[in-house]
């Protein structure tokens, strides 16, 4: 590991950088020193300023104030192109690839040495060589849309290596990977560091940071809280630096005393967007007071399973029964009235009407009934009073009269969405990645709501890619792979390794 104190080994240094959005300081006097040949973890909650800091380094944003030194010299990146020319590249959480082009063609995009004519052969060869060298195998002729999320990420990293980036910024790369894929990525990261490249690894998962990084910088509320050598830092200390207090996320209590079966799913089949079957015969029974976790890498039928269960997409086979009543082909409205609540993954795209106010969004499903309407007329006072009560009870912050809900922060959006769904007092609550992208406070609130529904006697189906969350909340975990349940176990018997293998498609031998 390089000595971080010596300035000639520094790849990049930020001094007192400020960056504000809409008057909110996303980076407030942030300082950051990145040595050559190190894996440097950037740790912090959502909204702590990690992405802003990375985007400044990658040339996407320009700081309002402060200095940036690049290999000891003051530097200003006017655009990501500038940054890349200097050797700084970033893999964003949302990939910057053209889906209809091949892997090799994506390599060529924006490359300064490649003009109108593209030497496909040469590109294919380089892509293959690089992939082999760094343990990132990928087919250069494949089109991006044919690749899994993990493979697309490899393409992004290879693209940067092809441009010979000296500093690689990876923004929460493990969020879309199985534990095994993450391990492979860590190996690549170490290899790149050994060659003298610097890797910035953004994460909020402490065990990953502990495992792969040499150095950690912790951000909180837009400020640098501290930088330490990873070897000297205990996960508990890092957590405290990150959150500012001791952290205990809610975990379910052991309970074996479930009620009767509320939801019975038998061989359900649901088509995907392209018409192919995305859910291929899923069967399970959900009891009152039970949380079933559905694990799986994104894109293995989770979305379609949820759609099929709540009426958003009619199953083409199998049955769904709620307390003995067949609801397989019922409408969305029927499902709502019969006691299904659904927290979709896409908050502003599906769960909330972004341009309407918080109060209106809280009434989005209940508006048809007392107290929100009287006959065909809306009752304005009910919107106001019920809204005020729920905003207070669920601690939704930032609400102002007439303010469109989309202007609330992610945590508050999710609190409002969950509030509305649990206020319906559902028999079955289906939630997809309900804490994804939330800060610790909001995560805590949402988890508590999920557990409160479990205690209330609702059956909860928690569909999530976050294994830690599943292990903390679920009573039983089912693993979904290519639309089928490939493994099922009580949470007590589940480990990240076992789940990870199943998520990657390996059948569980132990399953009876």
């Amino acid at each position: 590991m390089a000595d971080p104190a010596s300035s000639d080994t520094l790849a990049v240094e930020l001094r007192n950088v400020d960056k504000a959005f809409y008057g909110v300081k996303a980076n407030d006097h942030v300082s950051f020193r990145l040595a050559r040949g190190e894996v440097h973890a950037l740790l912090g909650e959502n909204g702590a300023g990690k992405s802003t800091l990375c985007s400044i380094l990658a040339g996407l944003y320009r700081p309002d104030a402060g200095e940036m030194l690049f290999e000891g010299e003051p530097a200003t990146f006017k655009s990501p192109k500038d940054a890349l020319a200097a050797g700084v590249g970033m893999v964003y959480q949302h990939f910057r690839l053209v889906p209809n082009l091949t892997v090799a063609e994506n390599f060529a995009l924006g490359h300064p040495d490649i003009g109108l004519r593209i030497d496909q052969k040469e590109l294919h060869r380089s892509a293959e060589e690089l992939g082999e060298k760094y343990g990132l195998p990928v087919d250069p002729a494949a089109r991006i849309w044919q690749l899994s999320v993990g493979e697309q990420q490899r393409v992004e990293i290879l693209k940067l290596l092809y441009r010979n980036a000296k500093i690689l910024i990876l923004d929460e790369p493990t969020a879309v990977l199985t534990p095994q894929e993450s391990q492979a990525l860590f190996k690549t990261m170490r290899q790149m560091a050994q060659e003298g490249r610097s890797v910035i690894f953004v994460s909020h998962k402490l065990h990953e940071v502990k495992q792969v990084s040499d150095q950690v910088t912790v951000l909180r509320g837009g400020k640098t809280v501290g930088g330490v050598a990873t070897a000297d830092a205990e996960p508990k200390d890092l957590a405290r630096m990150m959150v500012g207090r001791d952290l205990e996320l809610p975990v379910r209590d052991a309970q074996t005393d479930y009620g009767p079966v509320v939801l019975s799913v038998d061989g359900i089949r649901v088509p995907g967007d392209r018409g192919l079957e995305a859910v291929r015969g899923v069967t399970f029974e959900l009891r009152a007071g039970e949380v079933i976790g559905i694990a799986g890498v994104s894109g293995n039928g989770q979305r379609e399973l949820a759609y099929g269960l709540v009426g958003l997409r009619t199953p083409t086979g199998g049955t769904v029964t709620l307390e003995g009543v067949d609801v397989t082909t019922s409408s969305v409205l029927d499902h709502i009235h019969k006691g299904f609540s659904y927290v979709p993954q896409n908050r502003l795209g599906m769960g909330l009407a972004p341009g309407l106010t918080t109060e209106e969004n809280l009434a989005l499903k209940a508006f048809r009934r007392h107290p929100f309407s009287k006959g065909r007329r809306l009752v304005a006072s009910a919107f106001r009073d019920e809204g005020a009560r729920q905003i207070e009870q669920y601690d939704i912050r930032g609400v102002r009269p007439g303010l469109p809900i989309r202007l609330l922060s992610g945590g508050n959006l999710q609190k409002a969405l969950v509030a509305r769904e649990v206020e319906l007092e559902p028999k079955v609550l289906i939630a997809r990645s309900p804490t994804r992208g939330l800060d610790v406070g909001a995560t805590e609130a949402v988890r508590n709501q999920v557990l409160a529904q479990r205690s209330r006697g609702a059956g909860v189906l928690l569909i999530s890619e976050d294994l830690d969350e599943l292990l903390a909340l679920a009573d039983r975990i089912l693993v979904l792979y290519e639309g089928e349940v490939v493994g099922e176990m009580p949470t007590e018997e589940a480990t990240a390794e076992r789940l990870g293998l199943l998520m990657a498609g390996q059948r569980d031998e132990a399953r009876s």
Partner: protein, 370 residues
């Protein structure tokens, strides 16, 4: 570090004053631009504008003519406002207006002289609405069930409606054509009982009907369960579907309602100032002007009323300009400029400019930073 002179940033919530200021500023900006053109043509803009104000509001006859012009614009404005609010791009108010006129005139002629006004007038206005809705259905049904682009279908149906009306009068011996006049074909006058009573010069009670209908639209959208569902669909169809709302059915009903409002305007125009299916009096682009009205009123059905009066005044002032040698088309140009500025002004309702170094005013607590 940064060299930008101004930063554009989204404004959390626009104040009511600002939402009022922007349309007013749009009109003023359009007048300034129009003034430059008038200057270039050698006219004194101030005296031209003074002439226009005088023609529109300077006499009791001017005021009544302005309000006559405003009456159909209120309804075509509402037609555009309710549709656009739901992202239904019905730009076919023109055709729906004409078909409303065809239906209303047809019903009145069919009822004949015997029907008392208390029967004939409501039936006629309803027939107008029906005509507009039927014409809108021609775009609405393909949009909802086959996903066709309603901008194109509504626009095309405008031409069909116009030529259909022309055919009824110029091309055939239809009942709409006046048999008494053979030299130049024109519409058969509707019976006296089907004419709206006038109370102020030529101004008839149609203006009250239009205002009442605008209020009904405002109530339907803002205060009813149906309207709430419509607003959810307009904000996000995906979200509406998720919350159990029949999205297609809502789009269809709003589309038809929009057509009905344009059709009401046609019905009122025939039973009011025109008194016949007269192509020369009906083909004035009132449906298209309704789009400008709706945009300037920021799609609020009540705000449509004063804006329609303003546009009515401009329309009314047009012919008076000819007496001082300024082309009537000046008015059309001003209306176009107003639309451009109103649409551009929307940007400033949603965003603001500020100098980078100056501290900006606070945003809502909890607003996302990155």
């Amino acid at each position: 570090m940064t060299t930008r002179r101004f930063i554009v940033e989204p404004r959390g919530l626009a104040s009511p004053q600002l939402t009022l200021l922007v349309p007013v500023a749009s009109v003023i900006a359009a007048l300034v631009v129009g003034g430059v053109f008038l200057l270039l043509t050698g006219e004194n803009p101030l005296s031209v504008y003074a002439k226009m104000v005088d023609a529109a509001f300077g006499s009791s006859r001017g005021v009544s003519e302005t309000l006559i012009s405003a009456t159909p614009l209120i309804l075509t404005g509402v037609a555009a406002a309710v549709a656009f609010k739901m992202l239904v791009w019905n730009i076919g108010a023109e055709g729906q207006f004409l078909m409303g006129a065809v239906f209303a005139a047809g019903v009145a002629i069919w009822l004949g002289d015997g029907a008392p006004p208390a029967v004939a007038l409501p039936i006629m206005i309803i027939a107008g609405g029906l005509g507009g809705a039927v014409w809108a259905a021609g775009s609405a049904i393909p949009r909802v069930y086959m996903g066709t682009n309603e901008i194109i279908t509504t626009l095309m149906l405008n031409f069909i409606a116009l030529n259909f009306m022309n055919y009824l009068i110029f091309g055939s011996g239809s009942p709409w054509r006046d048999p008494a006049v053979s030299t130049f074909p024109q519409g058969r006058p509707v019976p006296e009982g089907a004419r709206l009573p006038e109370f102020f010069n030529r101004l008839d009670i149609g203006i009250f009907v239009a205002i009442a209908l605008a209020a009904v639209a405002w109530y339907l959208i803002g205060k009813t369960r149906w309207g709430f569902a419509v607003r959810i669909v307009g904000d996000s169809a995906e979200t509406a579907h998720y919350s159990g709302i029949g999205v297609n059915q809502k789009i269809l009903s709003v589309f038809l309602l929009s057509g009905a409002f344009a059709g009401f305007a046609g019905g009122l125009f025939v039973s009011g100032p025109v008194g016949a299916l007269d192509p020369r009096s009906l083909d004035l682009g009132l449906g298209f002007t309704g789009i400008i009205v709706a945009a300037l009123a920021r799609l609020n059905p009540l705000a449509v009323i004063p804006v329609a009066v303003l546009m009515g005044a401009l329309n009314n002032a047009g012919p008076s300009l000819q007496s001082i040698g300024v082309p009537t088309a000046t008015v059309t140009m001003l209306q176009g400029a107003i639309l451009i500025f109103a649409v551009a002004g929307e940007f400033f309702i949603g965003n603001r400019l500020r100098r980078p170094d100056r501290a900006s005013s606070p945003v809502p607590e909890g607003a996302e930073a990155a």
